[in-house]
Subunit: 397 residues, 2 copies
């Protein structure tokens, strides 16, 4: 099987035009936005041109199917509100090129998928989560984005493409190529990372409630200031976690909504996102205990109310040994001495697909480790190296 | 002169219907909102019925004028995005009742005003600031609210009422009745506070800039997290200020805008409001030094960029002795032994009007010290007590 690097790069750059931010190579292509819908229609056309049978499920996951049984490859084509051109898109277009090359070579049978809403406009990894049966569609259908639009309404934009459910039983396994989104490979000057496990994640919205009041007349000792509660929670938590975490553990307060958010008013309420990730399920549990105790304690000390929203949790996921071994052999052929085994600190659709079938993942470097930002980029020779490793692995399976 | 308490309370409750929030007695009547415009048209009608000459300046300040020379009384009728029914409204309606009673008694000459945008949709104390000549209208006209609407465009809603500039030289002084918006009077079981000085305020927007990145793949020691910078700034500042402040000094971070504000992204930028108030101009200056040094130092330590926006500053304002003495005599008559002299921790239109003429202020208690919230309220007998003190003082001038 012979992949065509130029054809692969052409398609990758063409996909970038859907939702181009005009800032570097950045894209604004959140799930079900006009740009995302247009990109998915374009992908469906490309899949068909490649001789694949296009099927789209109710969630908006777009498949290009070879005759069963086949190996499934792909990722997602939606982006963060301010995203890079490779996050997800690389895995979809590389899968398309391998599927094309495989058909031209008379086999093996390779199918392609672009999952919907990996970036979590309506949750997190929503498309693969629903397809894997982990989350029932009716359950997430009511979720609204920041603008108040529900998934149920957003899905209408792709309604005319929907063909129905796509049976996972027809696939022998799943391989996803993705950018690392970290500094490990770039810092080491390596081209390829073969993932051995995807870290687990916990995320919980926390609300602290105090007393909204006038910022000029309310003496400091009488205040119940929700922002001060958040600040003390953050400081206390950072201190408490030191004894529990490893150098690869991460935790983030990335979203903060203060109410009423006015400069002359003591904030009466704050809702913020508390997220933490680690490769060890037990450590994730211990961190949850610390997060909850910290919030309860700080709220108690400061006379604030505290509420925990529903926790989103994904366990760490080990990659399939057979698929991983094929990727390692491919890596050694394409980039001898310039690859490594590593954890994935980011979640990926492979996390959900692994519930259904053997799954594996491959990384290429991210320049400066930057991702989820317009500046996200990767040297084209590394992109092509990733494509070739996929082809080598598929040929071996 | 005999004020009519029932007529006063009727008008006060009628004004509450404009922008009624449906939560308690709360109102949603920001400057130039439909509710505010309707309320100002209603006020203009009430002023005319009281035999006052209605004049409205380009800024939307609504005057009811007696023959010059006259004593000006009033406050503002716009509210916070989530405001109480008395903040501003009380001073306007009490002034209207005193003006009516004075006319019925054949004098003295009392004029009434409702200043526009005291609550700062387009700055802060905007209406009285422009009328006092402190801020040129063309300078604030370009200011946009959170929704992007500029003051220039918002002003059109009252354009048909505008009669032109209102000459301050026709007024012999200004008296403003207002709720305390704090706990001092309520805690002491007192009915009246005669203001001796209004505290000064400083407010500055601060932006910390780090590196937006993926919350799963960016190791903690490689992060430049803008939210972590804000949290450390807040903790450090609270600690540094302890040596400088008094029990009446206040400081507030009331507005926080995190970017991009997503749970799976390390925040790359945060802009927040830093506000502090004190009765001593020198202390305000020393606090500014600490705020700026703290931000520079934390940003330096954490590899963040720091930018300071334009500082909004108002110096502490002493009240006029002659007017204040008349209010104190009135207080001793209406509420013997149940009144005190006090600072105003809140800014008021009197701060600006004091640039033009002798000015004084009177407080009535706020239940629970709550204001800038739907729950804001005051016992009606305290409201009437405030009205009577105004009348007593005016009779003495």
């Amino acid at each position: 099987m012979k992949v065509d690097a130029a054809r692969f790069l052409r398609d990758l750059h063409e996909l970038r035009n859907f939702g181009a931010s005009g800032v570097g190579k950045g894209v604004v292509r959140p799930a079900f936005s006009d740009a995302d819908v247009a990109a998915r229609r374009w992908l469906a056309g490309r899949f068909a041109e490649a001789g694949l049978r296009v099927e789209v499920d109710a969630m908006g996951n777009v498949f290009g199917l070879a005759d069963a049984p086949s190996l499934l490859m792909g990722s997602h084509s939606d982006s963060q509100p301010e995203g890079g051109w490779l996050d997800g898109a690389l895995g979809v277009i590389a899968a398309l090129e391998v599927a094309r090359a495989a058909r031209e070579a008379g086999g093996p049978a390779v199918s392609v998928v672009s999952f919907q809403d990996e970036e979590g406009r309506f949750g997190g990894l929503t498309g693969s989560s629903v397809w894997s049966g982990y989350t029932p569609l009716p359950e997430v259908d009511g979720i609204a984005d920041h603008g108040g639009l529900t998934l149920r309404d957003a899905r209408q934009a792709l309604g005319d493409l929907v063909t129905g459910d796509v049976n996972p039983a027809q696939f022998t396994g799943f391989i996803e190529l993705h950018i690392e989104q970290g500094l490990t490979l770039a810092a080491a000057g390596e081209q390829i990372g073969v993932v051995d496990a995807i870290v687990g994640v916990r995320q919980i919205p926390i609300t602290l409630t105090g007393q909204q009041n006038h910022a000029g007349t309310t003496q400091m000792h009488l205040r119940r200031d929700a922002f001060q509660g958040l600040s003390r929670f953050n400081t206390t938590l950072n201190d408490r976690l030191r004894n529990v975490v490893t150098p690869t553990t991460v935790w983030t307060i990335g979203q903060v909504d203060l109410h009423p958010n006015a400069s002359s008013i003591v904030p009466g309420r704050v809702t913020f996102s508390m997220q933490w990730r680690d490769g060890d399920a037990d450590r994730l549990r211990r961190m949850e205990r610390i997060v909850r105790d910290c919030a309860e304690e700080v709220a108690g000390d400061m006379g604030l109310g505290v509420e925990f929203g529903p926790m989103w949790e994904l366990e760490p996921t080990a990659m399939d040994t057979r698929l991983r071994t094929a990727l390692e052999a491919g890596a050694e052929t394409v980039a001898p001495g310039k690859w490594r085994r590593m954890h994935s600190g980011a979640l990926h659709d492979a996390t959900n697909v692994a519930r259904l079938m053997p799954a594996a993942m491959l990384f290429v470097p991210s320049i400066g480790g930057i991702s989820h930002a317009f500046e996200e980029d990767t040297d084209e020779e590394d992109l092509v190296a990733g494509l070739r490793v996929l082809a080598e692995a598929v040929a071996r399976l």
